[in-house]
Amino acid sequence: MRHVFLDHQSSTPVLSEVFDAMKPFFTEAFGNPSSLHQHGLRVRDALKTARQQMAALIHAESEEEIFFTSDGTESANLAIKGVAYANERKGKHLVVSATEHPSVIQSVEFLEKQGWTCTRVKVDREGFIDLADLRAAITPQTVLVALHHVNHDIGTIQPVREAGKICAELGVPLYVDCDASAGWLPIDVKEFGAALVSFSPHRFYGPKGVGVLYRNRKARIVSILHGGIQEGGRRAGTENVPAIVGGGVAAEIALKELPARSAHTAALQKRLWDGLKTQIPYIQLNGPVPGPGRICTNLNLSTEFIEGEGQLLLCDMNGIAVASGSSCVSKSLKISHVLGAIGLDHALAQGNIIMSLGKDNTEADIDYTVETFAKIVTKLRGMSPMWDEFQKGIIDSVIAPTGRGKSFSQHAADVSGKAAH
């Protein structure tokens, strides 16, 4: 059986160069960077190199603007809460988009319990914010605007440069969560006008266990994990040296290979979507069409009349690893808040699958995926009462409505007694 990994957004394997760079820091150079002897000083040097590599990836001016955290989630928490707490006297209002990652959304909700207020800027059906809405959301009390570069579910590339200009004009720092874009799209903190940028090397062939937060010198921030004076007093705790070193090397390689990786995945993305839409009726792409509005790695698909988890499991049993934003797949039994925010019909949200490409995927992988996925859809539709009722004209398609009957969602609400959430 062919093995095709199409879940690069969840994580990526560590490059052999990265692993080799990390290796000595487990055994031979195991020192704590806070130590003042050989063992500590050696790793201090290594952290500095990694900081420079991280800075280079996002075109930051100095490695002193780079802070290490444990992951993308912690970086987002630090950016949001660290800025909020530092500027409490200035104001207690935040602006975020409705489709931020949960690490941003939940951080904001935590602050709301502590007396902050937050405006969530809505997105359109492709997931884009409206810059006029963003501008209107900013008040004199706003201490931070958080806008992700690329959406982790539907691949939408937000207009961060333009958002940066508005923020600069209004004098509010902009935090750009680049977790879903770093290593795949060019990032330039100055071009973005970003006061803070976060990313996570395990998304571009670096190790887990390290997150990065860029902070422009002008942005005030306080630490949220308290203790020692590591990371210039902004992040206490013994540094995860091997992961930081490995992450730095991953960043250096990502910067160098970025054009090739982007071109390669963009070509496969097109081949995959072209193949799927040709082979499978009643399938739809969520988020922008592949091109300048969408990241080159992501396809978010809704296949009508069948549910997501079954698709995911059958893909897996056929060697294809994919993700899903469907409610059955999440522990909370809720569909992804992103699919909710773009107003996706519940039936389509249920049939959701996310495929994300990587540098090692091949055309043969894509062709196998198209062929296999078409079979899976056929199998699941064969089991689906909804497909049956659609064939019989009892319910209609949402993707290609004919006006001949009630929708799947209406039907589902009828049989379950209430509307799904």
Binding site: F305, I306, E307, G308, E309, G310, L313, L314, M317, S327, C328, V329, K331, L333, H346, A347, Q350, G382, M383, S384, P385, M386, D388, H411, A412, A413, D414, V415, S416, G417, K418, A419, A420, H421
Partner: protein, 142 residues
């Protein structure tokens, strides 16, 4: 990676991959279609009843792996039972027969129970004489 790792136990996976009794019964004696508001799953069970017993049971399911496995297992379990026996069918039987389900997926087995009961009710509705018998019986046992 030589082993296969699965979200569900082997029994659940087997019933998901090779569901028993998948389909519709053309001249069904009872059909039930229910939905779970919690996650949007929909399950349809059709029954063929002969001599007060379930002669055949078929399902169609729009739902996750455990929903499909639950309907497969429920229809397997129910075949050959009398209507009264089937009326007291509980989702726990499905869970046990499947060797367990993740806590967040127990509702899938409940859905199977509900679909079965809906199909039985449909049958009973079409056979008012049974309803009377049932009520009388219930009065006795109560």
């Amino acid at each position: 990676m030589s082993d296969t790792y699965t979200l569900y136990n082997p029994t659940v996976m087997e019933h998901f991959m090779n569901p028993r009794n998948m389909g519709d019964i053309q001249d069904a004696d009872g059909v039930g279609e229910v939905g779970a508001a919690a996650c949007g799953d929909i399950m349809k069970i059709s029954l063929k009843i002969k001599d007060g017993k379930i002669a055949d049971a078929r399902f169609k399911t729009f739902g996750c792996g455990s929903a499909i496995a639950s309907s497969s297992m429920a229809t397997e379990l129910i075949k050959g039972r009398t209507i009264d026996e089937a009326m007291s069918f509980s989702n726990q039987e499905v869970v046990d027969a499947l060797g367990g389900l993740p806590p967040v997926k127990i509702h899938c087995s409940v859905l199977a129970e509900e679909a079965l009961k809906a199909a039985l009710e449909d049958y009973v509705k079409k056979h008012p004489e049974l309803a009377g018998k049932k009520t009388a019986e219930q009065a006795v046992t109560a």
